[in-house]
Symmetry: D2
Subunit: 359 residues, 4 copies
């Protein structure tokens, strides 16, 4: 980390960046409220950064040997040790700080009517960002894999009607450009938590990224995934806890175990905002609401929830290559109805208010 | 399960119990609000309980093949499917229903002054039951093992002064009788979650039992442990979630991972009340308060917290066999100061109120 | 699954394939020793495959609802229930059946001399396939990421000199074509165990694939990953167990826990061969040899091992963009010296012989 | 740790022991081949053991701050760093060193005929120690709990007939004295891995103890459990790996995951012998043999296996309080038939020989 002088000039910065490149490293300029720093990207082993200390515009050189630097709270004192977070702006909706953002929508996009109706219902029930999957990472290749571009178009239509920004998953670095044309926020799913090439590719965009924690990722591995995105220049990252794979999953206790400790723990390690997905962690409607409220009490900045229409049953229709198909509604058991979402949103607000009311 | 007729006589019950014994089984009478049942204890394999259907006083015979029956919500319709819980009375303090009980005290008892001062402080900060360990199960035999009977006497003195009922751990079936003379509630610790002989022994008492979940126990294994207590006739059981051993423990994320889903999930399976121990799950002061509040939002009936005096340092004194000793304060990193407990208690009450206020 | 008649004609097969496509599904022809089948790929929900039963050339239609079909032993009776495996040919080296193949090489490729010398040493010590990483998936973006194409060229040179076929990791679907020009076998690493787009892309090649088990993958998830490759037509798959993430990792017990049960268990579920990677599971030289021998005794078809030169130290040199760099030798602690590999290979052969000698 | 002088007198030892007691600590005399040491038991925090350095007979004082000392290889250089183990003598059968001991018998004792016949068959098939449970720790109180004393008598009869020493589980510190009258080796089961009062009680005996690893115990926790036994003076301890609870248990992959790495890893930490239980880890007959052979290849000193009679079905008869009962045969799915045990024993010997034949 190179702290720059208050009167550093653009040319001086260029010279320092160039000197860093000559060492085989890269750098990223971070302009804070009171000062600017150059964070060094790459392996500092055997590099003596102190040779840069004499360069014009350089205030101080601090070699940092850490797996993540750009997203570290400790290395960004401008956010304070337990304090403020970055606020990520998703097409006008702000995530971070002291607000609580509810996101909702269908797990997967199947047909135009389903998406439009679910989006309207989600909005009415209090959601401010719409979720929906056009590319679906399914354990088996024999399961429904999403509608791809056709699904993105349906999401776009729902967005134009409701005004809700859209978050949708991207699975393949080759799809990043296309998805960026339709969505307002990339989602990186739990199965791609260490798909580093994909992380790099969304890092080359400037569109916000919702980064789910790998279901078997430690906090450090999660933050390193964020660091991959940041190392390409995209700092618009929102973390999302979505449950761990443990020996204690069961039909009663859910598909995964929501790691409630991760919320305060990761907030102490990074200044990025963190939201909670109680739908995919629990996999079970009856558990979604209590876990959502618990996440609010633990300090989450938002909730992302699977929603389905009241009338949806476990089988749903879609069209693929012109053929009418039916398939099992993905993650049906965990989707809330709009009415349930509304009740949850009201309760979440009450808990959030109780948390932020001075005594 | 044998449902008894409304006009069943004591003699008829005795006759049925005797017939059950002749089958090599035992039974337990449960008198509900509207009816009485005899739950069959033991292995029903190859037993035709229907032979009892013709006996006087028997309304209906329903063979049940389940690992736990006595503590099952499904088999106790008097509590409703998602509804009421048993209320367990601990020397006047009621746990269960819609109240929220805060328990606090030192992890371990070291000396008279420490116990008295911590108890007073805990009471002032809002605790209604005092915790404190006289027998300590430590991973290593070289660690401080507790003061035993001398510690129980100190707890008794603190109880007499403050009026707070005492919950304390019992480790050995041979100590149950002694501990019962001093305490108001047994604690069964996580390491004894499948110490079936100890569970049976506290089941033979009628004193309430705080049953911690094993750190590697499924919900079913936890409820089977409760069933061991119940099968000896003691139904005064309070469950306590205290964290799972997962691959995701770390110095940042805590010693164990609090299983927030367990709270609503176990409440659907049993009518017993369930409380939360955020101190031992997190092992870290900074995580205790957010996890405690999350547990309240998820529906816990109580909190149990490690407290230490403001001035306590990481080393503390005690006397053993007349020799003055010093030792590391057990679980020092996770103990709240009285001031922190007070802040937590106020916030917990606010969240609890938000949860129970109709909208 | 459609069993075809013995006298089915190519045109009849085409007609059936076309009819399957009209149902919105795909198919794959599998020609066994005594008969041919068409396996249906895709979601059979709501599809009545029996309409195909009347078509010419179709012997029998059996709808199959399973997460994996193409790689399932149960659905491929030609391999027998506990019996034979597919033999995968890697540039002349056969994996599967009753042989035991040792693969070895450096974890990562750093420079020409290192690769050549390690390859020679590995060959002399008994390795028949060379491993080596040109693209390295590292938890942190600040760690050495591999030499990419330059590394592939070094591997090619080592192959030309030693005659050993090369297995190397591919991380990005966009690199598949390039890697195929240099390597004889793709490696899919544990972090990409559910990178479905990458799996599909190597499935479109016909080059053999070494598919590592995800460190948090169940056997079913692992076989579903293989199914993604197979569903694109590439059946040349070798599975590789490489350790689970559990709560019991420790500096003494290794970075991951090798799942010895997975070897016989997965062999009962699939006819694909399965090899063992004791280097990455244990992360520790002292554990590599006993775990390798255990894997042989449990029935593995091969071993893949990290090797380094005798003289290699924990820091190694490479050149990046013309700049001379030094970095920590990746996974240094787990790499065997050639001498250790030789001793292991001899012991492995002795155990393998003992296993296959009739008593 | 106090190293004593070669010419230390019994009176001098007594004096030193007494001085240690005055510090509030205890000690244990260990007489090695070339020297004697006093290991200090208890919490050394704040104790200056160097005050003992001047006492007569004391060669050197080395304060040790470790969770386990008595069973540590590092603190017992007489066994060498990777070398020899203690040999534990179980009524004439030696466990440890380079031999491989097979133990077998029924999971639970149900009736006289079953025990006698299974014992005879186990002996013929190659077992040298007989296992069998008279006290059974079952998850549910409604399951068969063992015959207790009557079961011990049946085991005694089988031992008298076959000459095989008996290992049997003890669950309750109050049963230790009784069990010692019938058995030759205590078994501490996985559920009592941290039942410290029970560990202490078998430590007060001098009968050998088979200490199973807790299914959620780290290596350190396992060795601390051994240390509890040792700290009461009983050094006749044999460790037994029996499978971990992980997220990867499945009907195919077994009830638990055998930790093959634990065998070489724990042998590096302690000089105690370590055996393997593939029956309870896998819970599945088809996996028992490959895992047993793998354990031998990894360096285990013995195997303990569940055996049943050829003709045994999943339901078996017993008599309780004079009533004829039937129950599910405990762990039926994992029990080998005598013929299977024989095949396994021959293969195990072949692997063991291959391991110990110099090349």
């Amino acid at each position: 980390m190179l702290q720059l002088r208050a009167d550093v000039t653009p040319q001086q910065i260029k010279d320092v960046e160039s000197a860093i490149r000559e060492l085989g490293l890269r750098s990223q300029l971070v302009i804070g409220e009171t000062a600017a720093t150059l964070q060094v990207i790459g392996d500092e082993t055997d590099k003596d950064l102190h040779v840069l200390a004499g360069m014009q515009g350089v205030e101080k050189v601090t070699p940092v040997n850490a797996p993540y630097k750009l997203v570290s709270r400790r290395l960004h004192p401008e956010y304070g040790l337990n304090g403020h977070t970055k606020v990520v702006n998703v097409a006008g909706v702000e995530i971070g700080g002291t607000s609580l953002v509810v996101m909702g929508g269908p797990c997967a996009v199947y047909n135009r009517q389903q998406v439009l109706e679910t989006a309207r219902a989600a909005k009415e029930a209090g959601a401010r960002i719409m979720r929906g999957g056009a590319y679906k990472p399914r354990s088996s290749p024999h399961s429904f894999q999403g509608l791809g571009k056709a699904g993105l178009e349906m999401l776009m239509e729902a967005k134009q009607e409701t005004g809700l920004p859209v978050v949708t998953e991207v699975l393949d670095p080759r799809h990043v450009e296309l998805v960026a044309q339709y969505a307002d926020m990339f989602q990186i799913g739990t199965r791609n938590a260490q798909n580093f090439e994909l992380l790099r590719e969304v890092g080359r965009s400037r569109m916000p990224v919702l980064l789910k924690r790998g279901f078997a990722a430690t906090l450090e591995e999660w933050l390193c995934a964020a660091e991959y995105i940041a190392s390409e220049g995209n700092m618009n990252i929102v973390l999302c806890e979505r449950g761990m794979k443990t020996p204690f999953q069961s039909s009663e206790n859910g598909r995964f175990n929501f790691d409630i400790q991760a919320i305060p723990a990761v907030k102490a390690l990074t200044y990025l905002p963190v939201i909670a997905d109680p739908s995919h962690s629990t996999g079970k409607r009856a558990l979604v609401t209590p876990i959502a409220l618990a996440a609010v009490a633990a300090g989450t900045h938002g909730l992302i929830l699977d929603i389905r229409r009241e009338a949806d049953g476990p089988i749903i229709e879609y069209v693929k290559d012109g053929v009418a198909m039916k398939t099992a509604y993905c993650d049906y058991e965990q989707a809330l109805t709009p009415k349930e979402l509304e009740t949850l949103a009201v309760a979440a607000k009450a808990v959030h208010t109780a948390m932020h009311t001075p005594v």
